[in-house]
Symmetry: C2
Protein backbone atom coordinates (compact mmCIF):
# COMPACT_ATOMS: atom_id res chain seq x y z
CA UNK A 1 0.00 0.00 0.00
CA UNK A 2 1.27 3.48 -0.84
CA UNK A 3 0.73 6.23 1.77
CA UNK A 4 1.78 8.94 -0.70
CA UNK A 5 -0.95 7.79 -3.08
CA UNK A 6 -3.30 7.65 -0.12
CA UNK A 7 -2.43 11.23 0.76
CA UNK A 8 -3.58 12.31 -2.72
CA UNK A 9 -6.79 10.29 -2.43
CA UNK A 10 -7.40 11.83 1.01
CA UNK A 11 -8.18 15.14 -0.72
CA UNK A 12 -11.77 13.86 -0.79
CA UNK A 13 -11.67 12.88 2.90
CA UNK A 14 -10.00 15.93 4.38
CA UNK A 15 -13.12 18.08 4.41
CA UNK A 16 -14.58 16.01 7.25
CA UNK A 17 -11.62 13.98 8.54
CA UNK A 18 -8.75 16.45 7.95
CA UNK A 19 -5.67 15.64 5.87
CA UNK A 20 -3.90 15.00 9.20
CA UNK A 21 -6.77 12.81 10.39
CA UNK A 22 -8.06 15.17 13.07
CA UNK A 23 -11.78 15.41 12.39
CA UNK A 24 -13.18 18.79 11.34
CA UNK A 25 -16.79 17.97 12.24
CA UNK A 26 -18.13 16.27 15.39
CA UNK A 27 -19.95 13.46 13.57
CA UNK A 28 -16.75 12.34 11.84
CA UNK A 29 -14.09 10.30 13.66
CA UNK A 30 -10.41 11.13 13.83
CA UNK A 31 -8.42 8.90 11.47
CA UNK A 32 -4.92 10.00 12.50
CA UNK A 33 -2.77 7.03 13.47
CA UNK A 34 -5.61 4.55 13.04
CA UNK A 35 -4.43 1.06 12.17
CA UNK A 36 -4.56 0.21 8.49
CA UNK A 37 -6.61 -2.88 9.34
CA UNK A 38 -9.30 -0.91 11.17
CA UNK A 39 -9.64 1.68 8.39
CA UNK A 40 -9.74 -0.98 5.67
CA UNK A 41 -12.37 -2.94 7.61
CA UNK A 42 -14.57 0.15 7.94
CA UNK A 43 -14.20 1.30 4.31
CA UNK A 44 -14.99 -2.22 3.08
CA UNK A 45 -17.96 -2.39 5.46
CA UNK A 46 -19.28 0.91 4.09
CA UNK A 47 -18.65 -0.34 0.54
CA UNK A 48 -20.48 -3.64 1.13
CA UNK A 49 -23.26 -2.06 3.18
CA UNK A 50 -22.36 -4.01 6.34
CA UNK A 51 -21.94 -0.57 7.90
CA UNK A 52 -24.07 2.33 6.73
CA UNK A 53 -23.74 6.07 6.81
CA UNK A 54 -25.42 8.58 4.51
CA UNK A 55 -22.07 10.03 3.34
CA UNK A 56 -19.61 7.19 3.83
CA UNK A 57 -21.76 4.67 1.97
CA UNK A 58 -21.56 6.95 -1.09
CA UNK A 59 -17.86 7.76 -0.67
CA UNK A 60 -16.87 4.11 -0.29
CA UNK A 61 -19.07 2.72 -3.05
CA UNK A 62 -16.54 3.17 -5.87
CA UNK A 63 -13.28 2.75 -3.97
CA UNK A 64 -11.06 -0.09 -5.19
CA UNK A 65 -9.21 -2.39 -2.80
CA UNK A 66 -5.96 -0.64 -3.78
CA UNK A 67 -7.39 2.82 -3.07
CA UNK A 68 -8.70 1.59 0.28
CA UNK A 69 -5.27 0.16 1.15
CA UNK A 70 -3.51 3.40 0.15
CA UNK A 71 -5.93 5.61 2.12
CA UNK A 72 -5.54 3.36 5.17
CA UNK A 73 -1.75 3.45 4.80
CA UNK A 74 -1.81 7.25 4.69
CA UNK A 75 -3.84 7.69 7.86
CA UNK A 76 -1.86 4.98 9.67
CA UNK A 77 1.36 6.84 8.78
CA UNK A 78 0.31 9.87 10.81
CA UNK A 79 1.90 9.89 14.26
CA UNK A 80 -0.35 10.75 17.17
CA UNK A 81 0.31 11.39 20.82
CA UNK A 82 -2.35 11.39 23.52
CA UNK A 83 -2.27 13.34 26.79
CA UNK A 84 -4.78 12.37 29.48
CA UNK A 85 -6.08 15.05 31.82
CA UNK A 86 -4.59 14.82 35.35
CA UNK B 1 -21.45 14.27 31.47
CA UNK B 2 -18.64 13.40 33.90
CA UNK B 3 -15.25 12.50 32.40
CA UNK B 4 -13.94 11.31 35.78
CA UNK B 5 -16.80 8.84 35.99
CA UNK B 6 -16.12 7.91 32.38
CA UNK B 7 -12.50 7.25 33.23
CA UNK B 8 -13.62 4.67 35.83
CA UNK B 9 -16.03 3.07 33.36
CA UNK B 10 -13.22 2.94 30.78
CA UNK B 11 -11.57 0.21 32.84
CA UNK B 12 -13.64 -2.17 30.71
CA UNK B 13 -12.59 -0.43 27.48
CA UNK B 14 -8.87 -0.03 28.08
CA UNK B 15 -7.94 -3.59 27.20
CA UNK B 16 -8.65 -2.91 23.52
CA UNK B 17 -8.87 0.90 23.29
CA UNK B 18 -6.35 1.91 25.97
CA UNK B 19 -7.20 4.15 28.93
CA UNK B 20 -5.59 6.98 26.91
CA UNK B 21 -7.59 6.02 23.84
CA UNK B 22 -4.68 4.72 21.78
CA UNK B 23 -5.84 1.31 20.56
CA UNK B 24 -3.96 -1.74 21.80
CA UNK B 25 -5.18 -4.07 19.03
CA UNK B 26 -5.38 -3.37 15.28
CA UNK B 27 -9.10 -4.14 14.95
CA UNK B 28 -9.99 -1.53 17.57
CA UNK B 29 -10.06 2.19 16.77
CA UNK B 30 -8.28 4.90 18.72
CA UNK B 31 -10.75 6.83 20.90
CA UNK B 32 -8.36 9.54 22.14
CA UNK B 33 -9.75 12.99 21.46
CA UNK B 34 -12.77 11.67 19.61
CA UNK B 35 -15.75 14.01 19.79
CA UNK B 36 -18.31 13.12 22.42
CA UNK B 37 -21.01 13.13 19.73
CA UNK B 38 -19.21 10.58 17.56
CA UNK B 39 -18.56 8.20 20.46
CA UNK B 40 -22.12 8.50 21.75
CA UNK B 41 -23.51 7.86 18.26
CA UNK B 42 -21.38 4.72 17.88
CA UNK B 43 -22.13 3.31 21.36
CA UNK B 44 -25.86 3.91 20.85
CA UNK B 45 -25.65 2.29 17.40
CA UNK B 46 -23.95 -0.77 18.91
CA UNK B 47 -26.58 -0.80 21.70
CA UNK B 48 -29.51 -0.58 19.25
CA UNK B 49 -27.96 -2.95 16.71
CA UNK B 50 -27.74 -0.29 13.99
CA UNK B 51 -24.03 -1.05 14.04
CA UNK B 52 -22.80 -4.52 14.86
CA UNK B 53 -19.58 -6.00 16.16
CA UNK B 54 -19.11 -9.25 18.00
CA UNK B 55 -17.57 -7.56 21.07
CA UNK B 56 -18.99 -4.05 20.98
CA UNK B 57 -22.58 -5.25 20.60
CA UNK B 58 -22.16 -7.12 23.87
CA UNK B 59 -20.27 -4.32 25.65
CA UNK B 60 -22.83 -1.68 24.66
CA UNK B 61 -25.94 -3.72 25.37
CA UNK B 62 -26.24 -2.76 29.05
CA UNK B 63 -24.78 0.73 28.99
CA UNK B 64 -27.11 3.49 30.17
CA UNK B 65 -27.32 6.87 28.40
CA UNK B 66 -25.47 8.40 31.37
CA UNK B 67 -22.66 5.84 31.20
CA UNK B 68 -22.38 6.42 27.44
CA UNK B 69 -22.19 10.18 27.99
CA UNK B 70 -19.53 9.80 30.70
CA UNK B 71 -17.39 7.42 28.61
CA UNK B 72 -17.64 9.76 25.63
CA UNK B 73 -16.71 12.73 27.82
CA UNK B 74 -13.65 10.87 29.10
CA UNK B 75 -12.26 10.01 25.68
CA UNK B 76 -13.06 13.49 24.34
CA UNK B 77 -11.09 14.99 27.23
CA UNK B 78 -7.87 13.36 26.05
CA UNK B 79 -5.71 15.77 24.07
CA UNK B 80 -4.16 14.44 20.89
CA UNK B 81 -1.65 15.86 18.46
CA UNK B 82 -1.07 14.51 14.95
CA UNK B 83 2.15 14.74 12.97
CA UNK B 84 2.04 13.98 9.26
CA UNK B 85 5.05 12.39 7.57
CA UNK B 86 7.01 14.87 5.40
Amino acid sequence: ADPAEGRKLASQCKICHGLDGIAKIPIAPNLAGESQIYIQNQLKAFRSGKRQHEMMSVVAKNLTDQQIADLAAWYQSIEITARMPE
